[in-house]
Symmetry: D2
């Protein structure tokens, strides 16, 4: 990669660009995690993190990636051999069901084309009397397609299965309502809308989830000892102090902008991105206009053009990282992340880089994309 | 706590004081963990971390606390119902066996008085034909007592059990030889001798450990997919980028000082601390002079004096955090951490704070402790 | 100003965006400025700074703004009542001559229209036998017009006057040759092409300048004691340690990119910016195409449109700071800074913000500007 | 210097150890110094800085060292040839009078032995009808001797001369009252009690000082244009933005501790240091017990022992920088800085390092010094 001056554009759909003030907050000295100052700080943090989940219940913080929070959601609520219902909405939904399988769960995996969200009608149809949990990815990071969580929940009706939702790439960027929608476990992580480096897993849990009897051998992921220790601002094992500092600062930034404004900002940038893609004459991977992701956009390459070559060219020429096509769509799509600490001019720079890259890669496009997006941004 | 100017003295036996240059390294921007730069960085890091373990084999890095690395050691090598041999050398040895029990292992727990290390003779005596693993804590963070790992290994003779060792508060501060001593899994974490914030678990694994067949349902902790991805500088899930940056810098600092010098420095500070304790006329918790810890010293309070009141007074008056007595010795001991990013004058400040605190708390001591320690440091 | 997420775009022509690694370098602990480590560091720094000036002679560093370096240049080479020749190329040239006047110098101030550089023919014509110095601004920060320093020097012929040059907004971004062109004092500062916060003034001095006899009462600015102390890596008064750390890092970045590449990058961005301006159908302030600045572009507003209203709108809507019209051209021009730590996508974001702002402000433009600039960048 | 782990002890009497939070504050992005946010910030800062000076009048901030503020004080209030009265209280008083001389002032320099403060009786005695200003160093950084500014002022009676005071190493650490004591110009800088890196000069000015007619040619140092621009939160030239950020944070820390507490802390540490020196059986340079400095202590070496060798040994063995003897007392004294961001345990570490160094250097001392100081600190 030839250095070109200036800041790298990290426009993968996470990890996202960490704001300077978050990095500075994370540089504060480590303090005694068993001392009085840390306890007070923790109690405050555990409250402050609730609004992004739309919950008044507990949120559990792990030193882990989001994958760890996935595992925590499963092993705290289920037992080996339990039946769970999953939907193939993309790469991460596929990985989550693979984890469920690895852990010894019985998985009903409803196939999908990676261009649509979960069909609520399928949810009702596929539930069986012994289904113990439904696993849904809110915002598929690999496809830029969302699923309508409230509709999924409604489709479950009175069925006693738990609803477990992955919000890895939506939390903090898109309106989400754990309590109102009736979600049982919401899984997320630090490095996307929460604008932190990776290393923190989060789960919000309903009372029903907490009451579930799990048969998995477990220790690290166990909710109960954590919740017990959290009451006094403590943890059963050493928490990631400096990511906590960063989380507190990131939440303050979101509060200060106002969550509705944050969500509107993401919606606006997503819409402008789609305007650019349509302006270029390219196709979105997401085939359902009601379910466009507000945090990333996956773009299909025209036949005969390789997405990874495009990404490599853009990285080399413009020092911008874009997301690769994963799994089934490897080489066929590239993904533009437009979430987290991001604004109109960063988006303009991002879309400009994509447009220049497409032209240099010889992809036949209409160069009106960026102009159309700017017009959209100026008008909105 | 009344603010008294100056920097806090964080003299718990971990988390330790993170060096400025490590915090600065951790402030570098997050980069694409699937991109070429990160892959190259990772490959280099995975080599650079081996010397502190004394291994030429793989070291596996987790976004987790040290507790997570404990769990990883168990679930990758054992199966529910397996028999393991543990020794009650202190609080953390007790917690590790409790985790083993929670995970469904059969635990032989050899009682101890928290003032001695593992007795190699007991190891031979307690091994049964179906013992699958021996779990030993190298340096008991709760007591300041070490165990002689080479001797434990020798006492196991030809027995096929695995040897799993916790080096949470010794790694990077004390000479340790995973390969030479024949350890199968060495467990550690970031926030002690490696001078990082918490959030990173590490395990070094022998070929024998890698070959063991485990019956635990597992996904996050599974070594195989991590090792597979590591070959190309990748990870099966998002790694804690910024802690990696910090680890690279911390390893560079250790390399630059020279590991033998680092170990000698810790030995020297531990000896000076014991000189101070003896100068005060107080008793060490560690009752075996061959097994003194080089990273922390636990001091017994005279009868009628409460260690936690002393710690609170020292925190309030001198802005220094000391380690509490844990479990069985709660209130009866306090622990002085003298590890990590630490030098003679920091130690002198630390011991001075303890001496002043003891006097203010009305503990009958001889104030010759600090002077004796200084004489020791100047002579050494 | 409404917060819009993401990083502020600081596109004034200095201070410029300070790179993260420079800010981190500046966070290193202050060390003893009379100790051996600092002396060694200083000696190395004083060499490392020479290439950006194109000199093998001494460069003098002041804790000061660039204005301080202006004053240093005058009071070290001249005496009250001396005659100097200045050219009204813009606001900063006007300020420098005002300073000369304030200090009691006799100033011949050749009027100008702020749209052209110094005319070498005027230099020859205006020199008088008692002219002691010619003061020229290399790159007028207020206008985006340069002057041809080599031509000015040539026009001076054998006249004994000194040539003093302000490179405040060109140094480190544009090829500059103190020695080769025969400049006597080159004045600069930290917060433009050197990518540092403000606080450091720099002067490169020729042997002739050093030999000049000055009649000004002076102490702080005196070159001799500084040069004397510099020999051993010292300073006659406390130097700005942390800006020095940052300067060392910034110079390393420039070295690593390669100065010719740095200069080419700035030329390319300037050309793309002019393409955008022409695309919009707007007029450049600079009326001489041989003298376009590579670090900033000043754009004339169409009649009836106020530049400051535009800038306020852009700051409010797009969180971007642009440079104001100064002095004579206040309200009539806005200035786009495209220097320092800057790359293609930052420029694309910058130009996009200007284009959107112009449209929102009701300025009649052709929205083809950004697209034209992108085409230029992709082609170049 | 052999690296010994841990943080360097920077115990010169300035620059002092910069607190982490100040360094972090200084890492914030540079913003437009002509924009609305900066103006608001500046107006607030210019108020916030007044209490440490004990003034309700203006404080002027320069991108400069303290030496620059010295020059500003002289050139704004005096004219070449004016007579000023100076006192040889130490190295910096000598340097200030030398600057006065260099600038063409007529200096009456009252000799001194570097062990006493200014004698108020001498002030009255030496004032002549044409004395235009009296220059006094409040706290001699080279000797650890203060002068009683209120008494000096009183001794001046109705004489119209201005009183100019250097508070470089006292401001922010010692009670100081510009208004109440009737000082005309108070000169200071950033890198001592204000806990910042070097690079900022400060002057507080009385109305009388502002009204004085100065005959020096000047521009950079001129108060009037600065005060004029300050009214709207601006500056006549680019201010050192990031030092301003740091100053705001440092002032917040002082406010939060409470200035009287800050002063009491410094007094306490100075007293404990003298207890240690007396415990060692060594002699203080300051021969007047009413005028001990609260920010540094200069210690006389016994005959036959070289202070610089001691300092080199301490730097090498204990990674601590102490202040050298300057000028007349070079090699004969070493100076311990105990100011700024500093607490009891840092002081204990500092004194321990001195004690160990003295013994290793073969200086005959009583090792009871540190113990005595600790007893003093615990009692106080």
């Amino acid at each position: 990669m030839s250095f070109t001056g200036g800041r790298h554009f990290l426009q993968i759909p996470g990890p996202t660009n960490v704001p300077d003030q978050v990095l500075r907050a994370m540089s504060a000295p480590v303090i005694d995690h068993r001392g009085p100052r840390f306890a007070q700080f923790t109690l405050e943090l555990l409250e402050a993190v609730k609004p992004v989940f739309g919950t008044s219940g507990p949120v559990i913080l792990y030193p882990s990636s989001g994958t760890g929070a996935w595992e925590a959601a499963l092993v705290n609520t289920l037992s080996p051999g339990d039946r769970v219902l999953c939907f193939e909405t993309g790469h991460f939904a596929t990985l989550w069901q693979a984890m469920a399988r690895d852990l010894g769960l019985e998985v009903d995996f409803v196939p999908g084309d990676w261009r649509h969200g979960v069909d609520p009608a399928e949810v009702s149809a596929r539930l069986t009397p012994d289904t113990k949990a439904v696993l849904v990815v809110h915002n598929e990071t690999s496809t830029g397609v969302t699923s309508d969580i409230a509709a999924v929940r409604q489709a479950m009706g009175d069925h006693p299965a738990l609803l477990l939702v992955d919000t890895v790439s939506s939390l903090g960027s898109v309106d989400y309502r754990h309590d109102e929608w009736g979600v049982d476990v919401t899984v997320s992580c630090s490095q996307k809308g929460l604008m932190l480096p990776p290393g923190l897993g989060l789960t919000a849990v309903s009372e029903k989830a907490l009451a579930s009897v799990s048969g998995f051998p477990k220790s690290y992921w166990s909710w109960q000892p954590i919740l017990e220790a959290n009451k006094r601002g403590g943890f059963p094992y050493t928490p990631p102090t400096n990511l906590f500092y960063g989380l507190r600062e990131a939440l303050r930034m979101l509060e200060s902008e106002g969550l509705p404004n944050v969500y509107a900002r993401h919606a606006r940038h997503a819409a402008a991105t789609r305007v650019a893609v349509q302006g270029w004459g390219l196709e979105l991977l997401c085939a359902d206009s009601r379910l466009y992701s507000n945090t990333l956009t996956a773009v299909l390459m025209p036949d005969g053009h390789d997405a990874d070559k495009l990404r490599a060219l853009i990285l080399d020429r413009f020092d911008m990282s874009l997301g690769a096509g994963l799994g089934k769509v490897a080489g066929k799509v590239f993904r533009i992340g437009h979430l987290g600490h991001f604004n109109d001019l960063s988006l303009a720079g991002t879309l400009s880089g994509v447009q220049m890259g497409l032209r240099l890669a010889g992809v036949p496009i209409d160069p009106a994309g960026v102009t159309a997006a700017l017009d959209h941004l100026a008008a909105a």
